[in-house]
Point group: C2
Chain length 428, copies 2
């Protein structure tokens, strides 16, 4: 970690700048994949699986036999853990249901809004270096609570043309019927355009490598919505002198192991703490299986020594981290000052991995500073709150002249006339 | 209007297709404008105002003197109407405030979420053919309720280098301090990149012409969020034989007058009703000041004769109109079947213009079929619901093993270790 001691506030912005991703070259390659899938459908998916994943799957959709096999392969311990996580995620996301809001804004002018599920949603689940079955819970559980009628899951097959058992098991547990062996940009294309085997969806969710995130961005031009723009995963930890340096180091490392481009930031008002965390990071790093990835991420990571906790929080709010961990004495005071963050982990016994897996909050969160304008995935991400209104004769008599005046001032005659005609009919 | 009688369901999709907008050529021109503003800031804004709006404004920001002048120029009648609309919009959007959700998902595992305002938001208000001060209410009122700390408004100046009084008056009424004389792509660029006079914002809202909507799409690549992708405005009216043909015609025309590219759709199970609406449209059209625009939109508009109201609603749900107007006998039954629509207007005395101006619902709504995946602007558009969690020692003892099992299965050692370390410390 590079250490910056008492940087001037005017320099924070440039010190906290994320690396810019060069997307232009990738865009061309991804566009070619999208076009191929759009034109050749299932045949293109099979060709790409052979080319990129090492095998042409016998069937593009997971079969009942494969699901049955997965049930046997997943350990009882993991099944039980998944069940606990699922229950917690269900509890937190069910609480997000909105009671229908209904307001009579004027006598006879009734306005309400109603939550309607997005009918068709697509979930992308990465395979690659780790089988992220936890993401199925994070996307599939709120989709199910929302009442989405069609859930499509795309994930890359392995070299045997099969899907990882933990992914198959979790998808089946949630009742997801359409499980497609298609990864990368081709998986996104399949859900955006539809193929003979893969239904076209209205919104695509889920993390992925640069091919996947570029494909998601590109399909928005074809009218498909996506959960949010993506960048590498991030954590900022604010720790004061009483924090547990080993815990802080463990949290920094659990972010760093995601990949060499992971963003890791430590902010403290104690130079001693920063030094102790660094010593702990070095010690813990040695024991990790993904040591090389994590070490690369740590090379680019930064520790900031600041004056006090107010300055620490101001810096964090400017950075707008995906994950913010607070290990400080005066927790409540600091929590109240959070403005920009994706999800906040409070106190020594709340590691980020709790929210990554099992506490109940969602782990699909805004990166790359998007926490200034976006929230993480929630029940809201799978619904639309549609407004309705019904006006009575008496209501229109009251509100009609207001509409007529405003429409006339905006020089929209026909808007005015739609009221005038009705008022004439009412008053005749 | 072109009339289609009993089209086969398999043809609906192609019959309801919106015209594809050719953006590629425009993108180059818009990118050049963005770059100019990014590099030259205020000077570029002044040059573009001279070039596109016909005058170089003396000051880029509206002055106190100009605001005072606007207060005199706006009629008392219009002021009163704006006040009524503002109050109704406030009532409906205040009701959207979420009480903080807090769930103890397991003993000692506390998760909650809190609404935090987006700090800096930009509102684009078109000038052009009509001064859309109503849009200031629709964006500014929820932004104020949300508690956004910085509101920036950009709108094109007129040939005298001034802003329309109704726009100035309404912006000032809402307490918007930064009112910028910059329209088109350059206005969007100013808010996305910031200039000496214009603060950079995190999210940009508001309608506009193709330059504006293209600029909004392009600035998303620079990390700025936007309200939603935009297309021409739309209405679908479902009317049965008992509907008032004059009312239906007036609603179709109030959509058509927005521009030649407005999308107007009529769906009925009564051929007689379709004929009567067409006769009414022709008669009412003659009296409109924006007759030519409306006539062009009507040339491209479609009327569908369908078997019954179930088929009518199925067709509307496939189309996913921005505005849906229901003038039918069995209202409640049909309302319950709405799946895809931006905002729904129910019954004979609920013209779309009520929601456009004054009933309280928002008029910034998803077009171009985006109602399948997006809702209109609401209080939610100006906030982020940020999740927090705090776990006690006892809580971590309970949930810790679940996290360890799942992290191990995803082959993320460091994620597991962040829990293992803590459990060791607790149990020692």
């Amino acid at each position: 970690m590079k250490v910056y001691k008492y940087p001037a506030a005017s320099d924070w912005s440039s010190l906290l700048k994320r690396p810019v991703m060069e997307a232009a070259e990738l865009e061309g390659r991804v566009l070619a994949i999208l076009k191929e899938v759009q034109e050749r459908g299932d045949a293109a998916l099979i060709d790409f699986a052979l080319k990129f994943d090492g095998a042409a799957p016998k069937s593009l959709l997971a079969t009942d036999a494969e699901i049955a096999e997965a049930k046997v392969l997943v350990s009882e311990e993991l099944k039980a853990a998944i069940q606990v996580a699922k229950t917690n995620i269900e509890k937190f996301h069910t609480a997000q249901k909105e009671v229908q809001i209904s307001v009579e804004t004027m006598p006879g002018v009734n306005c309400w809004r109603k939550s309607l599920p997005i009918e068709k949603v697509g979930l992308y689940i990465p395979g690659g270096t780790a089988p992220l079955f936890s993401t199925i819970l994070m996307l599939g559980v709120p989709a199910t609570i929302a009442g989405c009628s069609q859930l499509v899951l795309c994930t890359p097959p392995n070299k045997e043309g099969k899907i990882h058992p933990a992914i198959l098991y979790t998808a089946n547990l949630l009742g997801i019927k359409t499980i497609v062996k298609a990864g990368g940009a081709q998986g996104i294309a399949a859900m955006a355009f539809g193929t003979a085997s893969v239904p076209k969806v209205y919104k695509i969710f889920g993390p992925g490598n640069q091919y996947v995130t570029t494909a998601k961005q590109l399909v928005t031009k074809y009218g498909v919505a996506i959960d949010m723009p993506a960048g590498p995963s991030e954590v900022a930890v604010i720790a004061d002198k009483q924090a547990n340096a080993a815990f802080v180091a463990a949290d920094l490392l659990s972010q760093a192991e995601h990949g060499a481009d992971s963003q890791v930031v430590l902010i403290s008002d104690s130079e001693d703490m920063i030094n102790r965390v660094q010593t702990e990071v070095d010690a813990q790093l040695e024991k990790l299986s993904r040591k090389d990835l994590a070490a690369k991420a740590l090379d680019n990571s930064k520790a900031f020594l600041v004056k006090d906790m107010n300055e620490a929080m101001a810096m964090s709010n400017l950075y707008a981290p995906e994950h913010l961990i607070l290990q400080v004495e005066d927790l409540d005071n600091l929590v109240a000052k959070v403005v920009n963050a994706g999800s906040v982990f409070i106190g020594p016994y709340t590691p980020e991995s709790a929210g990554d897996y099992a506490s109940g909050t969602n782990h699909t969160l805004p990166t790359n500073g998007y926490a200034t304008a976006y929230a993480g995935v929630s029940l809201d991400s799978f619904i639309r709150k549609v407004t309705f209104q019904k006006i009575t004769k008496e209501g229109l008599q009251k509100i009609g002249p207001v509409i007529e005046t405003m429409a006339a001032a905006e020089m929209l005659d026909a808007h005015k006339n739609a009221v005038t005609l009705r008022l004439k009919e009412i008053n005749k």
